[in-house]
């Protein structure tokens, strides 16, 4: 139904987003667990929300230069594949599943991990690495994606996330 009024409404884009702030903890480094954090961070930035990503433990694979471009998807013990469990552990199954997932991701025009991180930081997102994970894995800032701002401690992260909504992936 069309109703007549004189002035068109103007959308409220609420530029301040109420000072909203989002922290996403990325603790897993498999292909399927990397994307939720990346997609949410990118969406939040597109909504004007201050966004920080904190990479810890296996999440380091997402920002480790050596691994970030080669994350794997393991179908073992994953009921979401809807395939017989006994088959999933067969040789070659992981690389096949990874290949399939990469193709699906590419098919919907979603970028690979390194390009996604570039997109997020171009949009104003902040990337942080966990001190304890770096120490455990004997990694320094030079081993990490160049746009990671710093390696910070757990207490630093608690300070950083003050007043933020925090999502653990």
């Amino acid at each position: 139904m069309t109703t007549a009024t004189s002035a068109a409404p103007i959308p409220s884009f609420d530029d301040d987003a109420g000072g909203r702030k989002l922290c996403i903890i990325c603790s897993k480094g498999s292909l399927d667990m990397a994307y939720p954090g990346l997609v949410l961070a990118n969406a939040a930035l597109g909504e004007g929300v201050e966004t920080h990503m904190f990479f810890t433990f296996w999440g380091f694979d997402i920002i480790n230069r050596k691994t970030m471009g080669h994350l794997q998807f393991s179908p073992v013990g994953n009921p979401a594949t809807h395939m017989p469990t006994a088959l999933m552990g067969l040789p070659g199954m992981q690389s096949f599943a990874t290949h399939m997932m990469r193709k699906q991701i590419e098919g919907i025009d979603v970028p690979e991990v390194p390009e996604f991180l570039e997109l997020i930081t171009d949009a104003g997102g902040h990337l942080w690495a966990c001190r304890m994970s770096a120490d455990m894995m004997h990694l320094t800032k030079d081993d990490l994606y160049e746009r990671v701002e710093d390696i910070i401690s757990a207490s630093d992260f608690i300070e950083l996330s003050e007043g933020a909504q925090t999502i653990f992936v």
Partner: protein, 104 residues
Amino acid sequence: MTLATMNGQDVHVDDEGFLTEYDEWDHELAKTLAANIGIELTDAHMNVLEFLRADYKEQGETATLRRVTTMGGTPTKELFRLFPKKPAKKMAYIAGLPKPVGCV
């Protein structure tokens, strides 16, 4: 849907004020829409809007930010500079298109 007057012409808009009829948009209307949300249009803005319009006509849906970057050739940083804070929605509003529905 509401019929409203903008720049002395009748246009159809949704509850939020987004234009709903593709063909009712023109450059003058774009200037008014931009001014409504505090943006003064430059050639750089117009390039992006023209891409969005053309892409919508072909694809039938509003391009996401990433698509504007990869297919339209405007870098992400530039989009955030031209349409601060919420570029995807602001671009769509000024281009007279629906909000993009894609996630990335």
